[in-house]
């Protein structure tokens, strides 16, 4: 099965030309604790140490950058890619960071590539237009266009790794933070968050101090009174929060406010086969679901269930509203449990 992904309609998003708004931090801020900037030709271990000291977290997977880089250094990735595109249709924080300072992202990527010994590096951008813009900047790093289909990251990774190559992603914000740490000895203290959804009147990309309560970020976008759902992380695979005093973390890429909960009505599977075409990991969700429903599942039919990446593309396409990702996870757990 060739994975197709899902074409998600672009939503009323944040106009990128508005740039990034800065949310004023809580007054008197303690001066950022600094450390010595890196020398021009610092070695890998120094770069990794700087990433650790700066406390950088990769927003694309929530992993500390220092740990990620040292792990990558051991494995030796062929290709290191900075994610300058956003997967879900409501978010634009990565694109906004890239628009604002592509040079800084590129510099961070170069440092990271040196730290983990990657042979090649690329900037993965959202569209052909962005790629052209990048070429105009002459940063010396080639672009690669991530498709429009969700989940673009996993699909791009599959494409690049098809011939046995190895590749790894870094978040654009993590790259920029690494560049800052190396140049100025600044720790990562801020993150860029998209606030969007039909529950806000003024969607924005804002730069906020890490640890700011979600409520403050949300208020910046002028939320409507009747917001029912606040989701963080992603509009497709994120999670809802009910307590708005929770802090924003480096991995919070977006806050989505919605006035209506998604419909929860479920229908039986109508056998359209769309979930299998959408899945980037080669799982056949309807097969897994049917087997689990049958009461006597045959683990041999849990085809690739263990490879599920949790992207929830299958949920997004299923016309019957079945929570296929949860079913696949259940099946994978069963298989792991040795019942197979």
């Amino acid at each position: 099965m060739i994975p197709h992904g899902v074409r998600l309609e672009p939503r009323k998003g944040v106009p990128l030309k508005n740039g990034i708004v800065r949310l004023p931090g809580p007054e008197p801020v303690s001066a950022p604790q600094t450390f010595a900037p890196l020398k021009k030709n610092a070695g890998p271990s120094r770069i990794i140490a700087a990433a650790e000291k700066a406390g950088i977290v990769d927003e694309s997977d929530g992993m500390p950058l220092g740990k990620k880089l040292s792990r990558l250094a051991r494995r030796g990735p062929g290709l290191l890619i900075a994610r300058c595109f956003d997967e879900d249709p409501c978010t634009s924080s990565a694109r906004a960071v890239f628009r604002e300072d592509a040079e800084k992202v590129a510099a961070g990527l170069k440092l990271a590539a040196r730290a983990c010994g990657a042979e090649e590096k690329r900037l993965a951008v959202a569209s052909r237009g962005e790629a052209r813009r990048l070429r105009g900047l002459r940063l010396g790093i080639p672009a690669v266009v991530a498709g429009r289909r969700y989940p673009a990251g996993i699909l791009l990774m599959r494409k690049l790794c098809r011939n046995g190559g190895r590749a790894a992603f870094l978040g654009a914000q993590a790259c920029a933070a690494l560049a800052d740490a190396a140049r100025e000895g600044k720790p990562q203290s801020e993150t860029v968050v998209t606030v969007a959804g039909d529950g806000v009147r003024r969607p924005v990309n804002c730069r906020v101090r890490i640890g700011t309560p979600v409520e403050k970020v949300l208020r910046l976008a002028k939320p409507e009174e009747d917001v029912r759902i606040a989701a963080v992380g992603s509009a497709v695979a994120g999670r809802t929060v009910r307590d708005l005093s929770l802090p924003v973390t480096a991995a919070t890429r977006c806050v989505i406010a919605l006035r209506d909960a998604p419909p929860e009505r479920r229908y039986p599977c109508i056998r359209c086969g769309r979930c299998a075409r959408a899945c980037p990991a080669g799982v056949i969700p309807w097969l897994v679901y049917r087997e689990l429903e049958s009461g006597d599942p045959d683990p041999l039919l849990f085809f690739h269930a263990g490879d599920c990446a949790g992207c929830r593309a299958c949920n997004a396409v299923c016309p019957s509203g079945i929570d296929l990702a949860a079913e696949v996870r259940r099946a994978a757990a069963r298989k792991e449990g040795g019942e197979g």
Binding site: R228, A231, T240, V317
Partner: protein
């Protein structure tokens, strides 16, 4: 702000099952317009009683199965409308009721209702009626002289010979192609107007309410077989024209074959399924006794669809292979 928890995804990409069914319903209603304008409100009463029967049967079945009244999806209305459209307009009103009851109570509910039925309920209902009352299913009034049919009463009429029956007898139908495009010929209520059916097909396709694989393969195979083995002495192209426009072939292709529930899951499986239904239909036309048998062909293909799925699995190596 009164926040709730909900499960992702918060954006969805596709129409829901219910909205797909609603689109199909809309398309079916569009087919009722021309007959209503031409023959009075009898088409509407026929569709109405048919849908009502299906609704009552659905509620009955739900009561028996779950003890609840609620009808969760509009699939019963699709069944009812398709059945009414497959009947001749002059048939007594109890005919669509009887076949609707059969469709819901025998072909759908025992298997677990919508989404689990292995056969298309409307096709099963129509096949039931054609087997039990062939006389009523295959006599059509002659629409050449304009007149209005009574809304409820049984009607007396001059019978006409449908294009499908003429073809069955090995003769060339004496009907202008233009009349066939607008459905102004003896035939089932809703299946004649080829242009409207075609427009409905486009609507279903572009609103993503139906997949294209099965209907396209179905029509392609039908056209191919009609060109290769014409039943009447004429050029292949004429044969294709008459075969495609006569009987309920086009209607069956758009509304019966495209039903995803009894079809295979995989896209390639759906193509094979459509082709199989097309071949079966042409075989029925050549060798069967009825003048048309789209529903028999669809039922046959429905029965084969688990096998088709299994075959596709084998070929793709999706089965009997430990995870690796």
């Amino acid at each position: 702000m009164n926040l709730r928890n909900a499960a992702p995804p918060f954006v969805r990409a596709e129409p829901t099952s219910a909205s797909m069914l609603r689109t199909v319903l809309f398309a079916l209603c569009a087919l009722l317009v021309i007959p209503t304008v031409r023959y009075g409100i009898r088409p509407l009463t026929m569709a109405g009683v048919s849908v009502l029967t299906c609704l009552v049967c659905e509620i009955l079945a739900n009561l028996l199965r779950t003890g609840g009244f609620s009808v969760t999806d509009p699939s019963f209305a699709v069944t009812g409308l398709v059945l009414a459209l497959l009947m001749p307009l002059n048939a007594p009103l109890w005919l669509p009721c009887a076949s609707g009851a059969f469709a819901v109570l025998v072909a759908k509910a025992p298997f677990g209702s919508f989404g689990r039925n292995p056969f298309n309920p409307a096709a099963a209902g129509a096949a039931f009626a054609a087997l039990c009352w062939p006389g009523l299913m295959f006599t059509y009034f002659d629409p050449s002289e304009p007149f209005r049919l009574p809304a409820f009463a049984d009607c007396t009429f001059r019978t006409g010979v449908s294009a499908a029956a003429t073809l069955k007898n090995g003769l060339k139908p004496d009907i202008l192609p233009l009349d066939m495009l607008w459905g102004e010929a003896a035939g089932p209520l809703g299946t004649g107007a080829a242009l409207v059916v075609g427009a409905c097909a486009l609507l279903l396709l572009f609103s993503r309410a139906a997949h294209w694989q099965a209907p396209v393969c179905f029509l392609a195979v039908c056209a191919l077989l009609a060109a290769l083995f014409p039943r009447i002495a004429c050029s292949p192209l004429t044969s294709v024209k008459y075969e495609l426009l006569s009987g309920s072939l086009l209607f069956g292709g758009v509304f019966l074959v495209s039903d995803p529930v009894p079809a295979p899951y995989t896209a390639s499986g759906k193509g094979i399924y459509g082709a199989f239904a097309g071949a079966a239909l042409m075989a029925f036309r050549h060798f069967g006794v009825c003048e048309q048998g789209a529903w028999f062909a669809v039922l046959l293909a429905n029965a084969a669809s688990p096998l088709i799925d299994r075959a596709v699995f084998r070929v793709r190596g999706w089965e009997e292979k430990p995870h690796g």
